[in-house]
């Protein structure tokens, strides 16, 4: 392992490597700080040109952007009161209160250190666990793999926000769209709509993502006419938050563990991790009066959890080839462009990619903490970047990228259609994450299900093999829980209301 790390370090110490990691980290921080865009938009825009890059370098660039974006999200939250990314929502609740009180440096310093201390150990843990999990996972066969994909899709549907039936509808739609084109086993045509020959190649994920993310975001930002908010705050130099960290050390560890576990679960990622950690610490707090009015633990918990979720999400990606969150889907797509299939074998067949990814993640965390501690007074300037310049470049790169995805106008049309689809999803409240996850996992699921059934007739094998059976049961239970949980909560609420009414009647 050390040898691979040394090689990865050597390759990242080249001019190209340094540019990728430094530029990726800083670009991530800037885009993370600006509300609305986020680092995933930048990765989507860069995906079409990823085929020109070396896969290991591409992974280094992408992970630097992700870590930068995750860390930079706190800047907009604390200084503007608008979350830079959805993961930084909890930071607004308490962080912005400090700014209103004239002390933005304290929450910013805590957030910067929480980001660093959240990311670094989680990535180190991922390095060690990935190898062990991948070694176990190479013994999985078609049945287990199909069951794992089934479990991942249902977990994303069951645990993601929004209406469950609509989330599942999105997954069903993705399964249908993924099956357009040639059949993966016998190459016969399926749903070659209107006899258009371009459908034979299927629907390209890059064009789809460019429409779902970049196209939709810029269209809605323009439609809603968000005006540039003036940033009048002056930010001083970084102050070592030793006292805050020491006083809240137990809470920091709890938040880190919550982030790691949630990051590991497919489809949840940073937003859920930060909210879970924030609510846990709020629940455990002895004095709740300061929460929401400027409690430093409110900043520390969310920032730690969302960053430790990065390492958590890398584990299923590297060890199993299952994306932990939306950015991991983009990682998979970038590798697939190079005909590298993420699977438990990835760590054996392409160790240079895996270890470059880990090394870049560690280096990026260090670069970001250095920039954010030294350059803290420049944070307000990041929020003053004129949106109209940034958005127009992003949309041109997105449209060019959509064309480059398959080098035809069909993929450009796919992007435009998926942009409309994303707007429809928003109107009807369909979460796009189950759609995206099902779209990427559906071909893998189909391949394995059909090979399994062809090898031993019938679907009995999925239930007689213990690992496969466990995955199927877990996935189904999570989905069922998602359907039942609101009814249980409603029942409890009405019971409480009835008890309150009864008590009021007795009092009367």
């Amino acid at each position: 392992m050390l040898q691979y790390f040394a090689e990865a370090f050597k390759s990242l110490l080249t001019v190209q490597g340094i540019i990728f990691v430094v530029a990726g980290s800083l670009a991530g921080v800037i885009l993370g700080a600006i509300p609305g865009l986020g680092s995933s938009t930048l990765i989507v825009v860069l995906l079409p040109i990823a085929y020109k890059m070396e896969p290991a370098m591409c992974m280094a660039l992408f992970i630097s952007i992700v870590i930068g974006g995750m860390s930079g999200g706190c800047i907009g939250s604390i200084l503007l009161g608008i979350p830079g990314t959805s993961s930084s929502l909890t930071t607004v609740w308490d962080g912005y209160e400090f700014t209103k009180q004239g002390d933005p440096v304290r929450p910013l310093s805590v957030a910067v250190m929480a980001s660093f201390l959240g990311t670094l150990p989680s990535v180190i843990l991922a390095v060690f666990t990935c190898k062990a999990i991948a070694a176990w996972a190479v013994n999985l066969y078609f049945w287990e793999y199909a069951a794992l994909c089934y479990c991942a899709i249902l977990m994303v549907v069951g645990l993601s926000k929004g209406n469950l039936a609509k989330g599942l509808f999105g997954a069903g739609l993705a399964i249908f769209i993924a099956s357009i084109g040639s059949d993966p086993l016998d190459a016969s045509g399926r749903f070659i709509l209107f006899n258009i020959i371009d459908f034979r190649n299927g629907i390209n994920l890059i064009s789809l993502m460019l429409g779902l993310f970049a196209g939709k975001i810029i269209m809605l930002e323009y439609a809603r006419g968000e005006k540039a908010k003036k940033v009048d705050v002056k930010v001083g130099r970084f102050k070592w938050p030793g006292k805050d960290l020491k006083e809240n050390f137990a809470g920091f560890i709890r938040s880190w563990i919550i982030g790691l576990v949630i990051g590991f679960m497919p489809g949840l990622g940073g937003p859920v991790a930060s909210i879970m950690a924030y609510s846990t610490e709020n629940m455990l707090a002895k004095d709740k009066s300061k929460w929401g009015k400027g409690e430093i633990m409110g900043v520390l918990s969310g920032e730690t959890a969302k960053n430790s979720a990065i390492g958590g999400a890398l584990i299923p990606l590297i060890a199993l080839g299952i994306p932990g969150d939306a950015s991991c889907v983009q990682f998979i797509q970038a590798l697939q462009q190079k005909n590298i299939q993420p699977s438990p074998l990835l760590i054996q067949t392409n160790p240079e990619i895996v270890y470059t990814l880990f090394t870049a993640a560690l280096l990026s965390a260090i670069i970001i903490v250095l920039y954010e501690t030294i350059g803290m007074p420049t944070f307000p300037a990041l929020l003053k970047i004129p949106y109209h310049y940034l958005y127009s470049i992003v949309i041109m790169l997105a449209l060019t990228g959509a064309y480059m995805a398959q080098r035809n106008f069909f993929s450009l049309i796919v992007m435009l259609v998926s942009c409309c689809l994303a707007i429809l999803f928003d109107i009807f409240g369909v979460s796009s994450l189950p759609f995206l996850m099902a779209f990427i996992l559906s071909p893998m699921l189909e391949n394995n299900v059909r090979k399994a059934v062809a090898t031993s007739p019938g679907f009995k094998g999925f239930f007689t093999r213990p690992i496969s059976c466990v995955f199927i049961v877990v996935g189904t239970l999570v989905l069922l829980y998602g359907f039942i949980a609101p009814a249980i909560k409603k029942g409890r609420k009405s019971k409480n209301d009835a008890a309150r009414e009864q008590a009021a009647e007795i009092n009367d």
């Binding site: 040109i49 020109k52 209406n163 039936a165 609509k166 599942l168 509808f169 997954a171 069903g172 739609l173 993705a174 399964i175 249908f176 993924a178 099956s179 059949d183 086993l185 016998d186 016969s188 399926r190 749903f191 810029i218 269209m219 323009y222 439609a223 006419g225 968000e226 005006k227 540039a228 004129p386 949106y387 109209h388 310049y389 127009s392 470049i393 949309i395 041109m396 790169l397 449209l399 060019t400 064309y403 480059m404 080098r407 106008f409 450009l412 049309i413 435009l416 942009c419 928003d426 109107i427 009807f428 409240g429 699921l445 189909e446 299900v449 059909r450 059934v453 062809a454 090898t455 007739p457």
Partner: protein
């Protein structure tokens, strides 16, 4: 008073019809005759359609409660004015695609950068004089266009559309 969620009812009806259409076409796909055990290429489109059908029925039977705004009126996704703006931006996307086809990548990028920047700057800085806005957008379009050209054509050597008009003129 409970307000009917027309959106969800529409969603349910559309979902049922759409999934029924997919089911019909999926059934028409012939299974692979070589391997009798393989459930065939129609299995997954059918699974997708069945999932959509069931979910649409659930949404139709049990629509979500309507979200209300501060005034107690159903919350709107976008106002009429915002829909017009969204349509304008989507029109820009289509125009870019059309211009790519007609005049190619190199000419389209600066033109569209100028138009989109100008349109967006109108929103972000409404008080800025038009002349100043045009000049700023123009300078930005030229510089950013040149950078994009260098990155894609010279750097990545990407094969991008050259435009049929130039071909026809030759």
């Amino acid at each position: 008073m409970k307000i009917k969620n027309k959106k969800d009812i529409g969603f349910g009806i559309f979902g049922i019809l759409f999934s029924a259409w997919i089911m019909y076409y999926s059934i028409c796909i012939l299974p692979d005759a070589k391997n009798m055990n393989d459930p065939g290429p129609r299995l997954f489109p059918l699974i997708g359609a069945v999932i959509m059908f069931i979910c649409s029925v659930i949404v139709l039977i049990k629509p979500e409660p309507v979200k209300l705004d501060k005034d107690g009126k159903p919350k709107r996704f976008l106002t009429k004015k915002q829909w017009v703006s969204a349509a304008v931006m989507f029109g820009m996307y289509i125009l870019t695609a059309v211009l790519y086809y007609l005049i190619g990548f190199t000419a389209t990028v600066p033109i569209m950068l100028f138009i989109i920047t100008y349109l967006m700057s109108k929103q972000t800085y409404p008080d800025m004089p038009t002349k100043k806005r045009i000049i700023k957008a123009l300078i930005f379009a030229v510089i950013a266009g040149a950078l994009i050209y260098c990155a894609y054509i010279l750097g990545l050597q990407a094969r991008l559309p050259k435009g049929i008009i130039w071909k026809m003129l030759k």
